[in-house]
């Protein structure tokens, strides 16, 4: 097992989680490849995201629109904004071709907004591209797939970026 790679990947993903929990959306957008896709599928077994209906299938434009909406104050479902705390763990490197690394981990996310706390659990699968940068931000996100444990059930509305 390549512990160094595991540490690098998990450090990157923990940092991303912390950005999302603390509303650092400009920094979060900068983590992405231009052609990157952020996907929340309905069927956790789905692989053809482009030709199926998802909860979200965001390219760069949609990611920035989603971020703008969260901060706009124009949306009653995100004002006040939900608070979130997510824990990521159980990291595993699924593939590494020297350029891109595929990582899977578990995410436990708790959300609180207006008297109600909710709990969403998900498998996260990242395709990360090595940037060759030794300064710590050593990856860019090419794809992030958030497979919610209860994705195939009727959900309640999600006013943040899971």
């Amino acid at each position: 097992m390549n512990i160094e790679l595991l540490n690098q990947a998990s450090a990157f993903i923990c940092q991303e989680a912390d950005m999302l929990d603390h509303g650092e959306y400009a920094e979060w957008l900068a983590l992405w490849e231009d052609k990157g896709l952020y996907i929340v599928p309905i069927n956790p077994d789905e692989t053809d995201f482009a030709n199926t209906l998802n909860y979200a299938c965001d390219d760069a434009k949609m990611r920035s629109l989603r971020v703008a909406r969260l901060g706009s104050g124009e949306s009653i479902s995100t004002s006040p904004a939900p608070r979130t705390i997510r824990s990521v763990s159980r990291f595993r490197i699924l593939a590494d071709d020297g350029t891109t690394v595929t990582v899977r981990c578990a995410q436990n996310l708790r959300e609180f907004r207006k008297e109600i706390q909710k709990h969403y659990t998900a498998n996260l699968t990242y395709t990360l591209v090595r940037t060759g940068d030794a300064e710590g931000d050593s990856f860019r996100i090419q794809q992030k797939v958030v497979r919610l444990l209860n994705a195939s059930d009727a959900l309640q509305c999600i006013g943040y970026i899971p």
Binding site: I42, A50, T52, L53, N54, S72, S75, S77, Q156, G159
Partner: protein
């Protein structure tokens, strides 16, 4: 409700006036119980689109009111709507949302039923002697009728045929189905979510143009200028029309009522790239037809009590309790149509609809706040008099401006008719 008088001393009939309804319609558990019987078990209720059960053995589970049902296509292509309960000791015989099966087998004692509901086999039948004639115990079958691919069921054998129930709504269904762009339309998946509020709050919303610029401000900020102008319809030339039997249509964008008209009009900027992609495989007239269909219809057709043909999707409503409702937003795609066109439909649906869309969560928040606010006051009313001043009789019913509450008044008039019958 056993008596016709509520705890506030109103009769059930008094709760619905021509210009207002009583708040207890959102909050009274006894009224909800009554609705399950007098509305949902007493009229035509939508259960599926034909494309959701495409082949012999295809099924879809669901609910009529709170009663679990299975909609299934048998080997002769006939559609059945069956109560999802074994005739022996009541266990459901089919789980899962959609799928394909050869038969329905109860997991408890193994009673098995064919696709048309007939009881086929009972394990170890000897113990019954001659007490059990299988012909007496099929799955309970509802009356089923279909129009424009929309499958409805009812518990009532003595109510009018579906086509009569739909009446003038039929022509709007025909118009809506033109968004196949020349291909059959197909349900291509759905978003399902729940909100903590009464089902009629959602029923009203499908015929409520008034909320759009305010509640959906953040969505409007996320689209191009041309689309934003198209969706600026509250003071525009659209209208709402009461179509009878609780149904209504809200025309927001009159230009997009008939998707096969105006095919020579310029292609909107947002579809320019799609049109260019389609030109590789289709002649120009078909490209225009497909692109116009991809954009969706300019109206919402609200069919009482549980289904709407809403711009580019089906909105399905399921009452869970007096203060909880489940909504399905089913995306419509072109069966056998261009993948690029269908992908555009999917991405547009994701943009607005569902629990992570830019529109639905704000609707859901507004509905939740209606339910919360409904707990204030002891004897308050919900106002439904918007557009009443200019409402006029038409051949199909009554019509007023696009942000009139005419469609809500239509739905509540039918509610009152069913609840006080």
């Amino acid at each position: 409700m056993t008596s016709q008088t509520t705890s506030k001393g109103h009769t059930l009939a008094d709760l619905v006036q021509h210009d207002r309804v009583h708040t207890s319609l959102y909050t009274d558990p006894a009224i909800f119980e009554d609705e399950m019987e007098k509305v949902f078990a007493n009229t035509w209720v939508w259960v599926a689109h034909a494309s959701e059960i495409p082949e012999a053995g295809s099924y879809k589970t669901g609910y009529i009111g709170r009663q679990p049902v299975v909609t299934v296509r048998d080997r002769k292509q006939q559609v059945h709507v069956l109560l999802n309960r074994c005739r022996h000791r009541a266990a459901t015989v089919c789980e899962g949302h959609k799928g394909k099966t050869n038969s329905f087998v109860c997991p408890y004692h193994g009673w098995s039923y064919s696709l048309d509901g007939a009881l086929r086999g009972v394990p170890s039948p000897e113990s019954y002697g001659d007490l059990l004639d299988k012909a007496d115990y099929p799955l309970v079958k509802l009356r089923v009728e279909e129009y424009a691919g929309m499958i409805f069921a009812t518990f009532k054998d003595d109510i009018e045929p579906l086509v009569d129930f739909l009446g003038p709504a039929k022509k709007w269904m025909d118009l809506f189905m033109k968004q196949g762009g020349g291909f059959p339309i197909k349900v291509g998946g759905e978003h399902r979510f729940r909100f903590p509020g009464n089902w009629k709050i959602q029923l009203e919303n499908t015929t409520d143009a008034y909320h759009f610029p305010l509640v959906h401000k953040s969505f409007l900020s996320s689209v191009d200028k041309q689309t934003e102008e198209m969706l600026d319809f509250v003071e525009g030339p659209g209208f709402v029309e009461d179509l009878g039997n609780g149904h209504s249509v809200m025309v927001m964008i009159p230009d997009l009522v008939d998707l096969e008209a105006n095919l020579d009009a310029p292609i909107p900027e947002r579809f320019a790239a799609l049109a260019e992609e389609l030109r590789a495989d289709y002649p120009e007239d078909q490209v225009r037809r497909i692109v116009r269909a991809v954009g969706g219809s300019g109206f919402n057709l609200n069919i009482f009590p549980n289904i709407a043909c809403s711009m580019a999707f089906f909105r399905v409503l399921r009452p869970v309790s007096v203060t909880e409702t489940e909504i399905h937003h089913a995306v419509i795609t072109m069966d056998g149509g261009p993948e690029a066109g269908n992908r555009a439909r999917l991405r547009m649906h994701e943009h607005f609809q569902g629990p992570m869309g830019f529109g639905t969560p704000d609707d859901s928040e507004a509905w939740e706040r209606v339910q919360k606010g409904s707990n204030a006051g002891t004897d308050q009313w919900i106002l439904l008099n918007r557009g009443l001043a200019k409402e006029q009789e038409t051949a199909d019913g009554r019509r007023s401006d696009v942000s009139a509450e005419t469609g809500m008044r239509a739905a509540y008039r039918q509610w009152k008719k069913l609840m006080t019958a």
